[in-house]
Symmetry: C2
Subunit: 758 residues, 2 copies
Amino acid sequence: MAVGKSVVRVDARSKATGKAVYVADMFMPGMLIGKVLRSEFPRGKIVRLDVKKARSIHGVHAVLTADDIPGKNVCHVVFEDMPLLATGEVRYVGEPIALIAAETEAAAQLAIEAVELDIEPLGILIDPEKYNSPDSPILFGEDNIFAHHKIRRGDIENAFAQSDTIIERVYRTTYQEHAYLETQGMLAVPTAEGGIDVYGTMQCPFYVHGAVSDVTGLAQSRVRIVQTTTGGAFGGKEDVPSLVAGWASVLALAAKRPVKLILGRTEDFVSMSKRHPSRVEVKLGATKDGKLTAAGIDILFDGGAYATLSPVVLWRGTVHSCGPYRIPAVRVDARAVATNKVPCGAYRGFGSPQTLFAIESAIDELAEKIGMDPVRIREINHLRRGDETVTGQKLGESVGLQECLERAITESDYYNLREKLHGRNGPVKRGVGISTIFYGVGLGAGGTHFARSGAYVGIQPDGSVQFAVGTTEMGQGMRTVLGQIVAEAFGIPFERVYCLPVDSSRVPDSGPTVASRATTMSGRAILVACSTLKGNLAGVIAPEWGVSPKAITFGENCAFRTDNPAKRISWNDLVERAFAQKVVLTIVGYDSSPPTSWDEDSGQGDAYVIYAWAVNVAQVAVDTRTGVVRVEKLWAAHDVGKAINPTLVEGQIEGGSVQGLGYALTEEYIIDKNGIPMNPRLSFYHIPTTVDAPEIHPIIVESAYSEGPFGAKGFGEQPLMGIAPAVANAVFDAAGIRLREQPFLPERVWPKLKKGAR
Amino acid sequence: MAVGKSVVRVDARSKATGKAVYVADMFMPGMLIGKVLRSEFPRGKIVRLDVKKARSIHGVHAVLTADDIPGKNVCHVVFEDMPLLATGEVRYVGEPIALIAAETEAAAQLAIEAVELDIEPLGILIDPEKYNSPDSPILFGEDNIFAHHKIRRGDIENAFAQSDTIIERVYRTTYQEHAYLETQGMLAVPTAEGGIDVYGTMQCPFYVHGAVSDVTGLAQSRVRIVQTTTGGAFGGKEDVPSLVAGWASVLALAAKRPVKLILGRTEDFVSMSKRHPSRVEVKLGATKDGKLTAAGIDILFDGGAYATLSPVVLWRGTVHSCGPYRIPAVRVDARAVATNKVPCGAYRGFGSPQTLFAIESAIDELAEKIGMDPVRIREINHLRRGDETVTGQKLGESVGLQECLERAITESDYYNLREKLHGRNGPVKRGVGISTIFYGVGLGAGGTHFARSGAYVGIQPDGSVQFAVGTTEMGQGMRTVLGQIVAEAFGIPFERVYCLPVDSSRVPDSGPTVASRATTMSGRAILVACSTLKGNLAGVIAPEWGVSPKAITFGENCAFRTDNPAKRISWNDLVERAFAQKVVLTIVGYDSSPPTSWDEDSGQGDAYVIYAWAVNVAQVAVDTRTGVVRVEKLWAAHDVGKAINPTLVEGQIEGGSVQGLGYALTEEYIIDKNGIPMNPRLSFYHIPTTVDAPEIHPIIVESAYSEGPFGAKGFGEQPLMGIAPAVANAVFDAAGIRLREQPFLPERVWPKLKKGAR
């Protein structure tokens, strides 16, 4: 009835008309403006920090340093290494040192300038590849390594020795800035009874909930987190909002007034997390007929000044580093290291885009060396149902890669297209590239303790339904899709369902909204709740019909006897009767995933409960006179299990593809060798605009996941992930040059064209 | 651990320091001011209503009449007779006709004045005793009768015939204004996604929820009602906020802006509900040794222009009309009738104070006629465990009247006190009076369909607990008492529990907060939730201890083996383990009462599930020179089942007693014979102040109710109910005059003193 239909998303109109309420739109009587004083040094010792003058400025209600934090001075992500406010030492440009709450923006700015701060510079580590150089300072632990993950599978030495062909290549990626339209922001409101309510833009209310409790010292029961309309996140609002909420909260409690703290664009750019720059060294072996024999991969991620999410981002990158292939012998070593730069964190793909760029480029390079078509080598090696991943996980169901590949090839008319493009003359060379990728849906073994979700579902006396979940809408369409799941479960029209705002005090801790898990996990919790409620409703009519409640089906706006659908009662009538009988029609549903097996030493185990799959085919034009690479067409086939809302799936494919194009072609954030950000502005950091978008052909593949709601798997991240390698491979196909470092800016492409370099 | 302790109420500090946020304190960006244009006629035909000019005023965003209501023009209480806005005919002074939303108060006022309104006066009915006079217009149905309730028990004619003594008396009571400190007010906010959130002062969020859905035409799922700090209610915010919320909501939807509508004091006074004026005729028969034989009672309530709650208020008055006595033969006829005055409704006691004033005065008059002491006649006749009420209900448990009576007599030293007071000379005469009353707790047979309640209880990972309920705090201390129940259930300190704001979208429909039901009903729902959660927690540790989860007890901040309390785990450790194991720790608890038996024709059945009991002893001073009656001391013994928080019970006794004194002595709201309000201002309507309060001796009696949380019954209303008759009886004892019409103002007392009238 509702699932599989492209209903208009519930927030379409409000966002398009400007009615959606972002935190910046909010106002509370007595509200103050919050500001952050930040370090201008990449590393240094705080030798003086005097806020007396700042506090005396008219209109200033609070100036806080680390000493004034009522709770713990920490932002707990994976470790507890990052403070809410720097104390003793600063470690990156943009690190927060002091907080101000004032009546006006101007007063706050005056106070920032009035803080007396002396920082004595210390030695810095900027190049992650020098993390273990004797000249480099130690920033974390004993060796600057935040995390080291491994995969050990088969006899790698022997496998390489017996390979017919071996390639060894190094690939590099740089930062990617989330460039969400809405910068970070929070409004913290002390409640009359000694609690705090925090409103803001975020992905993970329960992370924020814990963080605010930590830094304020308030019991978790007294902290309430409400997500406001969130103008983009892409991972950038996973852990970072905990900091922003922490700042706003300690200010609000100190000032005893609501405090709104919204970051400016440049401030946000400089200080908020990014995608990890990476260096990935790939050694691949194959037989002469193209069968992969061995993979040796060395991964280095630039974690920045604090660990934050680096260990888990790296873990996902590690698990995906060999691509969606059967490889009998594998050795992966992955390290995330500390540098005196902004801490890197979550970004759509979460470590996978870096390693998939490497492996998917390397596969093409290997094919080229063997003299095999890039599609053919993938056909030979890609994972199928019953295969084992390189972590030793047996793939039971919902392995749609083959169908993705077939459909992408067919719909792009890959072979003919290539031939046609190669046949053209002129300074602009055209070609086609492919990538095949996979993505572990949900948190998997790297975050099994977060793999839980709750849903509140309340059938109203008039038969309409309210629900709430603990995962968030950040533009992906979750509220709409989950509403469709509720409607489908009850067999009522989508319009009768209303999604309540996300509020940490409405539902059980539902983990973070990351890892493409919202549809699956919140969907499952919703179905648990709906199932109980349907049982309660069926119990009202079952005795009259002389059947068990289980023999009653819901659909078509009715409940009916499964064995005799003519015997039915309308949904409204049944709800009315149930309500009159005081049957409970409002409950909390809850679902949690069982722990997955994982051995950290060998990197073997069931990394994720299920995988999504995708194939990208890119048609590019390379202008040999300028080095400009332009993607003209893109076919993107994605196995999503079930498209609850096909238009939203297509929207995700389109949006993610364009974001992937920015990552591939234009987005470059530069921190110079002294640790100074060079271009923290959207005018100098180029995200694609509409006119940069190619013709995109979304292809939806539905290989049902039996445990997902109506077969759905998550897939929100993967549209981005396979773009860069498909483009790099297409550029090679077009112009014969191999791009191993993104973004593929003209200044990087043109010299290669000139050299004819491979 | 928490129950039975006088913890400080959670809202004490915020209310005392002015931090509590009332709806008038709220502000939303773009917010408009709402105003109501009201009738100045008690009855008339609307012959012209033109809002064109009003709409054209600068700053005015909406001017609405009945024609502009998007949903149903109705405020559904018991019937659907009252419109949201008058259409065709107005029926009382203050009836709403049009609504305005404007940028400023001044613009709204200009718009009100610019509405072109002509009303053609129609014949009026002001005196309820003329409801069936041939000269009176018909305002409701065929006979102006909103409701007619009866009790028929035994052979009344024969019983009177065989009585040794019979008295027949008429008692009258007038309006009582709630005089809540905070007037009615609502803030309606259209949500970005087509719903509406309504914030305001109220008792019954689920009534408001239904009402807003009705008038806006929005599905109930799209309507969210949030109670703001409520500055007093006393029944005046039971049904009336539905109107106010309806006005604010239709304005907000029309203007597409938040609209705040706060009533001014005089506007609130004129147009909002009041306690029903009454005429109660009592005929009582007794044997010569004081045994009651028969009661014939005729009740007339002035319902005002619309039925609203009159049928149910009258029903409660009917059930309580014979007092807490065994009477073998009873005939009661009770009618609520229509007049062209403000609709009357709920007020602490809900129809009982009127009939209890009558019966408790009559019992004294009967005793006097027999020559028996007022205490003695009560001792002979009052209900005890195992007795039957006049509606034929057998009293099983928790009948604490005898203990109340004994303790009130003992602690006041009743007999000696009386003698001592009578012994004094001078123009000021002193005396002592008594009343014995009962009160059906909860909704009973008159509202069995509302007898449900839900609670949301969430144990946080740090072991602190959040909870929410659907009943409201209006000053009675509910949030505190329910927090104590949560703490006691889990065996943790009260400080670890936090009560969330009341929000219709947090919990199942929990019925209204009336009838002294909040502690009992929400407490029960909480205990259901806590019991499940304790089971979940016990399940975590039980296997390790080799016992069933049921063999584990919670208390002392621990869970321990019931059979071996040394085997224990701290609450925090257990919660931490459960959370790590992803056990669900957040659920909705739900409780509903079974339907009670009731026969409307005979007035026989189980009217209420349980009764609370009270005895008041009042010491008065009557100044024979002026007619001023002053209550000097008051002993108030109340059987509350269990005092969850003794200080709050005492506070309720003190507050209710003073409110009862206002009703007895000073509060008189006058609507003249033309239907025009004479004194709708607190400067002319005199509620008692602190200096008017006597010395009050609260006496707590705990006759446990096995189904109540920790034995508690509700009792919030009854402190008011027995005051007026105790005072009237004391005045008789002091000065020998019988006051049968309240309030006992000097101008009513002095002529009687002069006449020595009885």
